[in-house]
């Protein structure tokens, strides 16, 4: 540890407080009203599908399509998850199947 304990402690607490602040903000801003404003309800209802789509792309953001292995392991992984899920509709089978195939791809095939 390079710096004093009190510095580290206060730095971590600052991060904790700001992080909690970002999580609690919508509840402070819109939680007090007895009925949540209509546009907030609308956003709350429709943000999830947009955000999940965003998070998928976010997970794959560092995949390079122009250099080896051209995003092939990720494509194989995502396709496996999607096919398994549409076929079996079982979350665990889809996730484990896709992850196992992806791990094999990055460990043994596209090295």
């Amino acid at each position: 540890m390079n710096f004093s304990t009190s510095y580290t402690l206060s730095a971590i607490l600052v991060m904790a407080i700001v992080t909690f602040g970002t999580r609690v903000a919508p509840f402070i801003l819109f939680g007090k009203n007895k009925s949540t404003p209509k546009y907030i309800v609308y956003l709350g209802n429709n943000l999830p599908p947009a955000v999940i789509a965003m998070l998928i792309i976010y997970c794959l953001r560092n995949v390079s399509l122009s250099a080896f292995p051209f995003g092939l392991p990720e494509a194989i992984g995502v396709a496996t998850v999607a096919i398994l899920h549409i076929w079996k509709r079982n979350n665990l089978i889809s996730i484990i199947g896709g992850t196992a195939l992806y791990m094999m791809a990055v460990q043994f095939i596209f090295i």
């Binding site: 971590i12 939680g31 995502v78």
Partner: protein
């Protein structure tokens, strides 16, 4: 590979049991008597992919933090109070170079400001959670958010304890991973490369589930377009914030097309087999 295989069969066997269990919770809770044990079991199944992801990423964090000169107590303290994956990794750099507290506060805000959008979906749902509400807000990470979004139609009446269990287990995985990493990280020899793909897989599964749940697909198109656009304009490192802003603006612009009342969520879709 052996590990993955045995894990797979173990889960195969237990999967059928869990399905029965989930069904039981719905019935029990309707009668008013919810077994805590069964809620935990159902939550364990739902959070399994997050467990894979959080433990492996947590190990990576613990290991790095330990190598930078901070022991397991610091690592555990941070996972307990900050509980934000991306931020904790950045924190290693900030702490070791002694960055000022104001800069740390600003950095944290930039990294985590996306959370403001997450709470919007749970203002009404958390209102009825009493004492648990504060913890639910504190623990609203990307992964917990997505699990809560996708499992709302799963357990019906016992939603509150189910939600709490999911949030609590996720943080537990994160802390356990952190501890393993800082105490024994260097002992791991099993090749875990690629295991964090479980997180991507989880999001893909939720994506497919939501595709069936929402009749209107404009939000998904907005999400994809906004993120790809931000990726092209702002690059991979500053992706989230502009995407969230694009998404919010686009959702407001296309409100009339989306909000015709036909986006309604099918509460009884019942094809979510955990």
């Amino acid at each position: 590979m052996n590990l993955m295989c045995s894990l797979y069969w173990y889960l195969q066997i237990h999967l059928s049991l869990y399905n029965i269990e989930c069904y039981n919770i719905i019935n029990l809770s309707r009668k008013g008597g919810i077994s805590v044990k069964k809620v935990i079991k159902a939550a364990l199944t739902v959070t399994f992919p997050v467990m894979l992801g959080y433990i492996s990423v947590g190990i990576a964090f613990g290991l790095l933090f330990q190598k930078s000169g901070y022991n397991f107590l610091w690592a555990a303290f941070m996972s307990l109070t900050v509980y934000s994956g991306a931020m904790q990794f950045i924190a290693i750099n900030l702490l070791t170079s002694g960055v000022g507290l104001i800069e740390i506060a600003l950095m944290t805000l930039f990294v985590n400001v996306r959370h403001i959008f997450y709470g919007l979906s749970f203002i009404d749902k958390f209102k009825i959670m009493g004492k648990k509400k504060l913890y639910m807000i504190f623990s609203l990470t990307d992964e917990t958010y997505s699990l809560l979004c996708s499992s709302k139609e799963l357990v019906g009446v016992s939603r509150n304890s189910f939600f709490f269990c999911i949030a609590f287990l996720n943080q537990l995985y994160w802390i356990i991973g952190t501890l393993i990493g800082s105490l024994a990280g260097s002992l791991i020899t099993f090749n875990t490369k690629g295991i964090d793909f479980a997180m991507t897989a989880l999001f893909v599964v939720i994506f497919i589930e939501q595709w069936g749940t929402y009749k209107n697909h404009i939000p998904v198109i907005i999400g994809v377009t906004s993120t790809v656009l931000s990726l092209l304009i702002f690059g991979a490192n500053n992706l989230i914030m502009p995407s969230m802003l694009f998404i919010t603006v686009a959702l407001m612009i296309f409100q009339k097309q989306i909000d015709k009342g036909d986006y309604k969520i099918q509460e009884e879709s019942g094809n979510n087999e955990f």
